[in-house]
Amino acid sequence: MSSEGMDGPKLGFSFDLYSRNDMLTKKGLKPPGYLKTGTTIVGLIFKDGVILGADTRATAGPIVADKNCEKIHYMAPNIYCCGAGTAADTEAVTDNISSQLKLHRYHTGRESRVVTALTLLKSHLFRYQGHVSAALVLGGVDVTGPHLHTIYPHGSTDTLPFATMGSGSLAAMAIFESEYREGLTRDEGVNLVTKAICSGIFNDLGSGSNVDICVIEKGKKEYLRNHLTPNPRTYISSKGYAFSKKTEVLLTKITPLKELVDVVQVGGDAMEE
């Protein structure tokens, strides 16, 4: 910052570089932007299963495109997947693999396993060499127990007891790292996930609106859509948004235009028709 060294307590902002930045902007340098994937998705394993959580804001650059979208996707009756990244990519890839899992279930007559969904997803993403921009948190409970995985756009995966992804992942991970412990009960788990997502909603610009939760246990699942809505619409003006139709007249001044001139034909031929 300041090149003068330590002289007295530093109070307030240092605007030393203001004139330099101003000059650069005038010369055409674009300041760095905020374009991020804009999501907070989390998952954690509790005593009896898996809890997944997500915010509900979809962004198109700096604009909020959807204030209440669904980021927790169905994969199988016992497996759900949160998606961060390009919304179309996460939708398409989870739909596709969900379809493949269904056919597999008919063929084998058995419940799908989380590792099957994991392998299908990671193979798909690897095949597309990262161009399918989908970062996923996959969780579910099958015959071998509860599982939680993260999948990165290039196809690498991690198996974790708690996980966060998206632009709000740091905010959410801060909550998890300080408060997660093994053997949480269902309510403790839901509260922790809600806290982590709220941390993302309020501290990350790319995440916002409401909290979606999905609790998966052995033999049952609960999809809590809009479990928490900490951002209700409160700005509706009581007067409404109707404006008076007339424009207020402040001053009337009439300026005559130049006189109209009548052209009189003096002689000569009329124009040929």
Binding site: K102, L103, R105, Y106, G109, R110, S112
Partner: protein, 251 residues
């Protein structure tokens, strides 16, 4: 047979206008185990006899009635391996339809696509027709439906139908017993009685299979029922299905 010169090649018509290979395929179906289906006012039932080649065969491993989608099931008469190929293809087509239109495939659409596959194999080189006829039972927005698909690729909608060995007797029996306003419980009862007509030996829960679909649009199959059918020794059938507890395919 005067057509014998034309009977080896599938893709050649005989002078009488038939494709003899398809006729032979229908004969293969006709010598298969009896299966039948009945459409009731509030559901459809399909049933088949499950005669195993020996008592040493583990009957729980044999599943003749299969599910195609959560609301459509199928049974066959004829060559088992051929039916497996068709079931696999149909499941995939149904799933592709679902992916594309985000709605469960209507029964008629699935039947049409399966029939199209069977027809392909009657007009290609180096292949033979499928040696199965399928009875497709489903429940969709148009209500309960029952279709039969033949090796030629033609399909028909039936109120009640039978295929396989005992087809003529079974059909006569069904014609007598069928009523338009039949309920599903009656239909199941009639189905078992019809099977019993042509059954060689003692009918029991272990050597028939029943598939049912009702207004809840979930296909259920019998052999995995916890409470089995009780078929009394005097030949009267006591139907004690509890289909709600029955095996449901994983969704």
């Amino acid at each position: 047979m005067g057509d014998s010169q034309y009977s080896f090649s599938l893709t050649t018509f005989s002078p009488s206008g038939k494709l003899v290979q398809i006729e032979h395929a229908l004969t293969a179906v006709g010598s298969g185990q009896t299966s039948l289906g009945i459409k009731a006012s509030n559901g459809v039932v399909i049933a088949t006899e499950k005669k195993l080649p020996s008592i040493l065969v583990d009957e729980t491993s044999v599943q003749k009635i299969q599910i195609l989608t959560p609301n459509i099931g199928v049974v066959y008469s004829g060559m088992g391996p051929d039916s497996r190929v068709l079931v696999r293809k149909s499941r995939k087509q149904a799933e592709q339809y679902n992916l594309l239109y985000k709605e469960p495939i209507p029964v008629t659409q699935l039947v049409r696509e399966t029939a199209a596959v069977m027809q392909e194999f009657t007009q290609s080189g180096g292949v033979r027709p499928f040696g199965v006829s399928l009875l497709v039972a489903g429940y969709d927005d148009k209500g309960p439906q029952l279709y039969q698909v033949d090796p030629s690729g033609s399909y028909f909608s039936w109120k009640a139908s039978a295929m396989g060995k005992n087809v003529s007797n079974a059909k006569t029996f069904l014609e007598k017993r069928y009523t338009d306003d039949m309920e599903l419980e009656d239909a199941i009862h009639t189905a078992i009685l019809t099977l019993k007509e042509g059954f060689e030996g003692q009918i029991s829960g272990k050597n028939i299979e029943i598939g049912v679909i009702e207004a809840d649009r979930t296909f259920r199959r019998s052999p995995d029922c916890s409470s089995n059918r009780r078929l009394s020794s005097r030949g009267r059938v006591a139907v004690s299905f509890s289909f709600r507890r029955c095996f449901k395919y994983p969704e």
